[in-house]
Amino acid sequence: MRRRLLLLAAAAALGAVAFSGDRFWLQFLGKAMIGSILAMSLDLLVGFTGLVSLAHSAFFGLAAYLLAGLTNRFDLVNPVVTLPLCVAFAAACALVIGWLSLRATGVYFIMVTLAFTQMLFYLFNDSPALGGSDGLYVKTRPIEGRAAAYVAIWAAVVLVYLLLSRLLRAPYGRVLEGIRGNDQRMRSLGYPTRRYKLVAFVIAGALAGLAGYLDATLYGFVNPAQLGWRQSGLILVTVLLGGRGTLYGPALGALLLAFIEHYGERVTDHWNALIAALVIAVVLFLPRGLAGLVQGTPRA
């Protein structure tokens, strides 16, 4: 109940900001909510399935780059066309990378996803045709106006939350929960677990692609650092901070992290150290993350 009220209040407050028209807050909170989408979708893998992936930023970046390519080279701008294309592209890449990575398990799975992410980073960073280390501008943005982009991001966060919470309560979500608990036993109960994990990887990748698309729309700019593994690490930190195995934890964790970053920067140049200290404190004292502070049922 408390959790539901908290979420409704947060959603209403974030929605209301759209009417303020303040450039800074629209950009700042838009960015923070994109972080929420990334964190919730990564948590589908980390918290609910028990798969730690460092490839999440890759799907974010691939969708953003595709948007830049479509608008700049082919004059394809209309979101009705570009949004499904970019999300489908991220999903297709997740299918290939996931299919290969899921042959490995445990720490090897993490390493394979890391390797793919680094490969893609260097591919974009070192190819002048793909913008090189400077990245690319999105010459015409699919959604004009900062407030409109903000509303689109807000709607996407709400939609992703509803979609994932629905999916987690469905039979598919139960299977993921079982895989997290005991993968081998799930196989002996008749579940081809690798297939279920691959589907989760593709869903998460598609949602990361959605986040990348929205990010490129908000900023009109993509660069290779966005698909590097540091970015993946940051999303992972958001999930742990917010509370893996819940949706609202990572979603609110991303907002909190954005605020810490913003105000931390004013206090000290070493704001990263603040975040590090916070992460250490949470991992040591709040194993369920900040979500552990909000009472709620274990199942999302």
Binding site: R166, L167, R169, A170, P171, Y172, G173, R174, V175, E177, G178, G181, N182, Q184, R185, M186, R187, S188, L189, G190, Y191, P192, T193, Y196, V199
Partner: protein
């Protein structure tokens, strides 16, 4: 003799130079309880893991319902009707009993790639899960966390999960291991009821239990079949006594 539901032909599993299961050819008759016994290291567990698909055979054949399943994966075998329990607790320690059995029952849906309707709406899954819990005497324990059950209750839950998958062939890996006398009696009673009308391969150390519920017994020694016969034949066989029971022949 009823028709064999499960058959192995020269089934072999090598680990390097060691043949843990070495040319085992056995037929498991439909509707019977067939025990596999043998001293430690005889290859009983390896044999069971081959039958459930958890290990790949390095030689030989496995036929189930007339189909070659030598290279089948555990999930495919489960879907074909092979259920199993494990020697050590192999549950979902963080889930409740009810949720563990639910997962087992849900596996009989044609597919669990179902993303929208809440799981509870699949009523037939709930019915199957509740029936399995009740059968195993856990109807009152649905909300208890699996990892916190007593040893005996964990065995009951193992069996409930297996039954919820509606198997026709049961592979039981030492269901009595580590249990106290009273708990063991309770599980034997449960196994007797479970075995009715089903085909069972039972690996077990407790000889009293084996001889009381089995229709036939195979003795494995060093991965090979030493003898197969009715419980009384096996009990009377001097070779078995010498090799396995370790008793002086009177």
């Amino acid at each position: 003799m009823p028709e064999a539901l499960l058959q192995t032909g020269a089934l072999t599993r090598r680990f390097g130079a060691l043949a843990a299961v070495d040319g085992v050819s056995l037929a498991f008759a439909e509707g019977r309880v067939h025990a596999v016994i043998g001293p430690n290291g005889a290859g009983k567990s390896t044999f069971l893991n081959l039958l459930s698909g958890e290990l790949r055979a390095t030689g030989g054949l496995i036929h189930f319902r007339g189909a070659d399943v030598t290279r089948a994966t555990p999930d495919r075998l489960s879907r074909m009707g092979v259920g199993r329990t494990y020697q050590t607790a192999n549950l979902f320690p963080e889930l409740s009993c009810g949720d563990c059995v639910w997962l087992a029952a849900q596996s009989r849906l044609p597919s669990s790639m179902l993303f929208f309707r809440p799981a509870e709406r699949y009523a037939q899954v709930g019915v199957r899960a509740a029936r399995a819990l009740e059968w195993c005497g856990l109807a009152e324990r649905g909300r208890a966390i699996a990892g916190q059950l007593s040893y005996g209750e964990q065995r009951q839950l193992e069996i409930a999960m297996m039954l919820a998958t509606e198997p026709s062939l049961l592979l039981l890996d030492e269901p009595l291991a580590g249990l106290g006398h009273d708990e063991a009696l309770r599980i034997v009673e449960l196994l007797r009821r479970v075995a009715r009308g089903r085909t069972v391969v039972l690996v077990e150390h407790d000889m009293d239990a084996v001889f009381s519920i089995s229709d036939s017994v195979t003795v494995l020694v060093d991965g090979r079949v030493l003898a197969t016969g009715s419980p009384s034949e096996i009990r009377a066989s001097p070779a078995v006594r010498e090799a396995y029971l370790g008793e002086e022949i009177p």
